[in-house]
Symmetry: D2
Subunit: 380 residues, 4 copies
């Protein structure tokens, strides 16, 4: 009988994560679940968290993109979010946060991702308080009552789910808000996980052409594998004006019907709006973190008659759609191939560093529970 | 037989307008019209034009808000935009610009206000070339073929039409793009003509409460006459943080469903977005002119999950709606009372100065054709 | 200590309701409440239920529009739906049904009114099983856990709330789905409670003109009190073709921008679509009951390029908006005046008959709890 | 010098078309063009026209789907609709009708396909009046001033354009109005040209699954070539209830997010609405002709909370999108393969009969101008 689990803990900003042991809960609350972690994605947000760029309280276990197998189910929990039976041993994933369903934003304004009661696994829970295991960089993960759990189809690889990560849900939500029209010409700013996901969603949502701006080169090559019709390499066109001109030309001369910002640098917003045609749409999707201000001229919004959208996180229905999409389009959008770098839990700091340096498309942590010491495939 | 018309001409930026004589056209083109000007509004944009803040070529006759009587009709012009018969002597107004109807923006993307072929009367036509009289600060106005002319209902005062001016059309278009929901709480930033018009349109479009932020005091009093549920005086709350807090409280604590920027200063955009509730809407309406950049953090758009809209000028159908609205709601929205300062054509510089100093709600120029020297009512 | 409550019970279709005594619950479930009924509206749906035209199981206590005072609160229930403190003695109303929040329709497709787990008070609960008191025609009403309870503002009369009844919520939801544009011309088919409510919502949502078609005359007079710009009397224009012609003329010649069906007879749908302009909107709102088929030519939908909307019941947020609207617009929309006929609980059959015969604008049942035998005002 | 052209003329309903000679215009109006016909599609509507089921005046030359080469250009016509240079010899197609751009429906309500001034080539013009040649079943076609002409890309086969025909434009417009959501499950009723086009547009607009209901079998096989995820054969499931059940199951149990009617029989509408999930969308697209009434219960629209859309014809921008789509997706959506039966102009009656009997996917008429007697490929 296992009674403790290892986890990689962020105790101080900008300092190495520490491997710690935590007690497993002796008893689950009604509606809760305990999951044996199989894979945790390393998200760019984890790097920001590690650097202290988001307002969180330490110590925490990082990891908000996780797949595992149900180890134990609390009383009354017998269905997943979609209504399928849920059993011990099922491979599952879940939304990182759960909205309350009853507040002003949930019930009245239909903005559940802005529910003030949300806290995200891997971000918003201290691990020095029970049930401790509320992040993905760990051997086990505790799922609280009302968690939105999704049983994974047998033929959907874990690599696909973690390769897509929260980026895909984020992109689905953001593009839903933006509304890609049939045969729209779309520019995606950024070729990281969110940019690649936005590309995939835009292509499958009816875009006639998608142009991806980013770097480094291996990411643009990944974008081409995902169907980018054209790419603009930041290392080749180093000036915003040159990129604006290139994007507009590639978009047919007038600019794109929709430009999707998946970068996170505020200057991208200034640059990207100029890539829109008049009356076009702009999505600010990459600004989950506060990267500070930039000189911006709001005249552009009036003059170009833009529609600008923001989108925060995602709802459970977006994760449901993401999982179905991943299963249905594995040939076209090879999200599993995004998992380029694998690490053991003990190597979490290397995993973070690889993500921070943009060397990987996606780094992941493959858990090796002590009692079942399988050899997780990895190359580091 | 009249053969010349006086006009007040902007020959050099920041220098007094000059009264000049121009030849009337000896013969109208097919589809054109000649109108004897009765009243021309002095718009805030005219002040910007005078200062050289918009990219125009001089000399021009200012005035893009005009009412007059048809003096002569070109061949084939016998109906107004709505299909009503049009006769010499009819009192009319018109859109300041005409879209081509056939370009990429007109025909394919349904953004006719961004038609590249548009030029606006009073802004975009040099007056040293025939037919010269393409602005409102003049005794006569030439209307080119395809102008969008509207015959005015007998019971609709000229003061209502000019009191509303282009601001009302602009607000109608902007609020159409934004979409005011039934029982929305709305904040209007600015109490000038555009702000007052946005207030009127928002109230009549279903807003539950409209809060107006602006000054000086006489403008806020005007806002109250137009039904503002609350006002915030810039002279009393001088700090953005205080105004944000006040607006949010007046809006019920979470912020407004929609915030409408009718100011033109870029800092208003930064301030105003913080007045939105999460998932709210923001309209950048006051930035017809380029007032330069401001430090702006795009994170707010993501974090608050905003929708931001820009809107440029207006379409003929907006003017049609405006005229019907003015006629139907004269008691509720006293646009005629906006005309607080009247000037003769010879006093155009004083009219401009009064608008520039925010002393008037709306200054107007009342033309006194030399051959019919009626006494225009004015107080300067 | 009260231990039983009287209720008027529908035991057999088309037979008189029977006054019965039911035990009050000895103990409330957590989250439940017991309310002392003050007023229950008699809805047209109650007449359909009484006639057996809806698929329900008897016996039931009718009444799904109710106001009462909190008698007792179950454990954990201390806030109303909006988050206000909830205390014994508070005057409250509630949604007739509660959605589950988790099913395919609630969580994935955002159609909570189509949640298969909904059952409505006064319609969907047998009263021969505890807790019995799940309808408004009774001295007490039991509110189950998760009921959507709204505390009423002190200055909002009970008559306003019941005068508006479920019709107002229904209209708010339906018009939200339809989307009334600013300055739209609207035709409302029907001058019963739903028609009057649709008129009020349309007027306050920006309609330029609202034309109401219905009868008998006293209902059209009520429509005029609510601001109808024109009315068409079914007793005067007895032929559909004549009404179509009249409505189109009153709407400006082309037909209405939106036509709102609030009748419930299928022939109204055929007639009403012809009242739409090309590209117009049509709302099928009155067909909560199945009134059978009608010969219908779908070519009209293609030819006129219509948008047709259905809307079922309402969400809690609509009730919240309704209560605020009632409070804010009492002068303009005198819903309290809809309560034209009052009955004691013992007179429930007369109340139903009055509604069935269209003699009342709205009949209500005023409860007279046995231990507090105040004299409810009524005239029958 | 050619001075006459042969055309196949509908002189009496239900009687054979007659081959007649017409004078070519001696001189083109400004802005007009003369085109040498290369291929004309035989649309199902042509069969309805031939049977007298649409309100037209005879004699007419049928054919509203046409490709040809510019023979002569009127003064001032030097650009196609997209702004490309237009020269004699260019291969072109065009919209069958032109809206006025200025009426209530064109300019005020943005419903140009309902412009009362539209008349369609091949439908609405008598050929016994000059310029006679206003239909596609002819050696030459006259294009009036303001016709919406599109130069065809060199690599876009004429077969693709005519194989898609007006059906594709119609589907694009209809699906634009309906709005296919990303990952929607869609049912298409009908496997004729409109159904196949709707399938192609739905797939490319983001549908997760498209289920096609129709027959005969060769049409369902064509649907599979176009990517149908499942088909329901009318010859196998002969009862509406069985088809409804099958469609709902194939759509996941609840019904489809959107059902697209591309049949033209009114009973399909009754059947199809039951295939929608609650809150789903229904498009009435196949009812260009009036096929009479059907017993219909509008309760379904309320109960299922449906949105129902009609769509009439298409706008020039839809044809532009169609041509780009055809060029970009020739592998995925083999519209050229729809052209299964080719006929000479002299065989127009056989072409009509083949279409009427549903033997062809698409029948076409290949013109063989007398002076260039090439051997048009055909198999009849």
């Amino acid at each position: 009988m296992i009674s403790t689990a290892k986890a990689s803990v962020l105790e101080r900003f900008n300092a190495p994560l520490q491997l710690r042991d935590f007690s497993l809960p002796s008893r689950l609350e009604s509606g809760a679940a305990l999951v044996r972690t199989e894979m945790a994605g390393v998200c760019g947000t984890d790097v920001h968290l590690w650097k202290g760029e988001l307002p969180i309280t330490l110590p925490i276990i990082l990891g908000h993109e996780t797949v595992g197998r149900v180890e134990q189910l609390g009383e009354g929990l017998d269905r997943d979010w979609t209504g399928q039976p849920l059993l011990v041993g099922d491979r599952v994933t879940w939304t990182s946060a759960t909205s309350c369903g009853q507040c002003y934003y949930c019930a009245e304004k239909n903005q559940p991702t802005r529910c003030p009661h949300r806290r995200a696994y891997g971000i918003g829970y201290r691990c020095d308080q029970a049930p401790h295991l509320l992040g993905g960089y760990a051997q086990f993960h505790y799922l609280q009552p009302r968690a939105n759990i999704f049983k994974l189809a047998d033929d959907l690889p874990t690599d696909s789910v973690i390769g897509a990560g929260c980026a895909l849900n984020t992109a689905i939500h953001g593009l839903e808000r933006t509304g890609i029209g049939w045969r729209d010409v779309v520019v995606v700013q950024g070729a990281g996980p969110v940019g690649i996901a936005a590309l995939a969603v835009a292509k499958s949502a009816g875009a006639a052409r998608v142009i991806v701006i980013g770097g480094p080169r291996h990411r643009l090559e990944m974008a081409k594998r995902f169907g980018a019709d054209a790419t603009i390499d930041l290392d080749e066109l180093r000036e915003p004006a040159a990129r604006i001109e290139a994007a507009r030309q590639l978009a047919g001369g007038y600019g794109a019907d929709a430009v999707l910002e998946c970068v996170g640098h505020p200057s991208a917003v200034v640059e990207g709006m100029e890539m829109c045609r008049e009356g076009g749409k702009y999505l600010v999707l990459g600004h989950y973190c506060d990267a500070g201000p930039v000189p911006f001229n709001p005249h552009v919004i009036t003059r170009k008659q833009l529609q600008v959208f923001g989108s925060w996180s995602s709802e459970p229905r977006h994760l449901k759609a993401a999982l179905e999409f991943l299963g249905a389009t594995r040939e076209t959008f090879p999200f599993a191939a995004m998992v380029t770098h694998r690490f053991a839990l003990e190597q979490a700091n290397e995993a973070l560093a690889t993500t921070a340096s943009w060397r990987s498309a996606k780094s992941v942590i493959v858990s090796a529970p002590s009692e079942a010491p399988g050899q997780p495939e990895h190359r580091h």
